[in-house]
């Protein structure tokens, strides 16, 4: 019983990472936008949704007590607005400069989470974020199972929508821009418009994922949204297969499993006093795996598909 509940808990968190990965896949996998500020979008979504849905709390702004669904929608919209603002300023930049700009945004926003105490609760963050099916919290298994079902359904819906987009002329135009912007423009595409659209869509999905994660865990703190999160998500996408939506989901599950396994291993092997320091080894493990993938299977577990779409048939 306990094991099942744990498995459901593990997979639910993995599904929230899979959602972040799907967002990054739109930006990087399909469009080649080097976003190194993933944590900013995830964190923004988490905080916006928390502020919208938590009950009123003394000394803190927000606490509007809105339904969870409203928090999710608000988070996605906020992610879209952030992407639009950052994108409008930086999308003309070449990929490595976009990386620097997005990294800076992520660091700045994390500092806002940490210091805008009246709004974000400062270093302690926000607690009592309403959890879906919260009424069942005391029954571990049904609670875990229902939350898993909810996140799986969300990932499935997003997967189907993003896959339809990827197979569409829009997705094709994104890939054309990724491959050769000059050639794409000579064929009538608008690289600026396409890159901005992909950046906004990806930002919305990431922020939604941040909100879903926050509601599942029930509390958030600024330390959740450090650059290490961005690194984790990149490792997931690269391992799973950049440019492939199924790969993004698979990579999230695999890397999250490695993360959880190494955490358990450290808890088991390392003396209690050293565990905080030893947990850095988790990042080392992810880094080593990332290097191995880049060396031996740079296309990831599930490579981008290049087949002719089925509905177009063959002559």
């Amino acid at each position: 019983m306990e094991l099942l509940a744990y498995a459901a808990f593990f997979l639910t968190v993995a599904m929230t990472y899979a959602t972040i990965c799907l967002g990054l896949n739109v930006q990087w996998g399909q469009t080649g936008l080097f976003n190194v500020g993933v944590a900013a979008f995830v964190g923004l979504g988490a905080y916006v949704s928390a502020i919208l849905t938590t009950p009123e709390a003394p000394g803190r702004l927000g606490g509007l007590g809105l339904p969870i669904a409203a928090g999710w929608v608000g988070a996605a919209l906020a992610g879209g607005v952030l992407a639009l603002l950052v994108g409008a300023l930086t999308i003309r930049l070449r990929s490595d400069y976009l990386a620097i700009a997005t990294f800076g945004v992520a660091v700045a926003l994390q500092l806002v989470f940490q210091n805008a105490e009246p709004l974000t609760g400062g270093a302690f963050g926000i607690g009592f974020i309403p959890r879906p099916f919260g009424g069942l919290q005391r029954q571990a298994l049904p609670f875990a199972a229902l939350n898993l079902a909810l996140t799986v359904a969300l990932v499935l819906i997003l997967y189907l929508a993003l896959e339809r987009l990827a197979q569409s002329p829009w997705g094709r135009a994104l890939r054309a821009v990724r491959e050769d912007e000059t050639a794409a423009e000579s064929l009538g595409k608008s690289p600026l418009r396409l890159r901005l659209e992909a950046f906004v869509l990806g930002g919305m999905v990431m922020a939604l994922a941040g909100a879903v994660q926050a509601h599942f865990i029930g509390f958030i703190a600024p330390a959740n949204y450090l650059p290490a999160l961005t690194f984790q998500v990149w490792a997931m996408l690269i391992l799973g297969g950049s440019g492939n939506n199924r790969g993004a989901i698979l990579g999230a599950v695999v890397v999250w499993a490695i993360w959880a396994a190494t955490a358990a291993l450290i808890a088991h092997l390392v003396p209690a006093g050293e565990q905080a320091r030893a947990s850095s080894l988790q990042l080392v493990a992810i880094g080593v795996i990332l290097c191995a993938v880049l060396l031996w299977r740079p296309q990831g577990l599930l490579p981008e598909r290049r087949a002719v779409p089925r509905h177009l048939g063959r002559p």
Partner: protein
């Protein structure tokens, strides 16, 4: 407008006094040319004469310092490449630029114009319409691939194509956009003789369908075969214009070509 016989049709593409400098160096200087509808014009000249810059000016990749570009009588001097393509002007690149990690068929389909599904919202919400458009575009792309003899490779990523096949793919892509004028930048460069023959033949066939062609080419044999008229550029200016055999016999043309040669 009724045109009496003998009167020349209005040019489909014309340049009026185009100039472009890079850091005080005049690369194109007061250059004018006219391309009649369905015409085929060669653009030759020694290396560094400004041919590719002229192409970039005409296609909109580079803005001129002075002068004007008219496409079907309309001034497009201030318009970006995609607006010119919409008005009927397509181009190829000196070094082919395939979308390497996309299939050959996708490369060509990308070039279809006015695709409903290029709006993300329409792609999500109007799948039936997008799908039927896609079928039509796939059918036309396959016809074009057949025309350039790349049908067998439609499912392969463009990265596997040889140099000559990449030139053919560029030709296919630009045809998919249904242009009235095509600018071809050295379609024969780095192509093996067997494919070169095919490329020349396809360019002729395209022109025979009424598409006007402006062609940069160093291979004089190819130019002589394709172009009834050529213009010669030297040091950014128009040096000579006429049938290839006459122009290449002119003393001043021979001189500018010899200047570029090691003594």
């Amino acid at each position: 407008m009724d045109r009496s016989a003998g009167q020349e049709a209005a040019p489909v593409l014309s340049a009026r006094g185009l100039s472009k400098s890079y850091g005080g160096n005049r690369v194109v200087s007061d250059l004018s040319l006219d391309l009649p509808p369905g015409g085929m014009l060669g653009l030759i000249g020694p290396n560094g004469a400004g041919k590719t810059t002229l192409f970039n000016l005409l296609a909109g990749a580079v803005r001129p310092d002075g002068g004007a570009i008219l496409l079907v009588g309309r001034d497009v001097t201030a318009q970006p490449p995609r607006a010119r393509l919409r008005a009927g002007l397509g181009r190829s690149f000196q070094i082919a630029r395939p979308f390497a990690r996309m299939t050959v068929l996708e490369n060509v389909m990308t070039a279809a114009q006015a695709q409903t599904g290029e709006s993300a919202l329409a792609a999500l919400l109007r799948p039936a319409r997008v799908r039927s458009e896609e079928r039509a575009h796939a059918a036309r792309a396959r016809e074009i691939l057949d025309f350039v003899s790349l049908s067998q490779l439609e499912g392969e990523p463009a990265s596997v194509l040889s140099g000559g096949q990449r030139k053919l793919l560029e030709l296919a892509r630009v045809l998919m956009a249904e242009p009235r004028v095509i600018l071809l930048d050295e379609p024969g460069a780095g192509v093996n003789p067997a494919l070169l023959d095919l490329i020349a033949d396809r360019i002729q066939a395209i022109n025979a369908r009424g598409v006007a062609v402006l062609l940069i080419e160093h291979n004089m044999e190819l130019v002589a075969r394709l172009c009834p008229r050529v213009i010669v550029m030297a040091a950014g200016r128009l040096l000579a214009e006429g049938p290839p055999s006459e122009v290449t016999a002119r003393a001043d043309v021979i001189e500018v070509y010899l200047e570029g040669m090691p003594a």
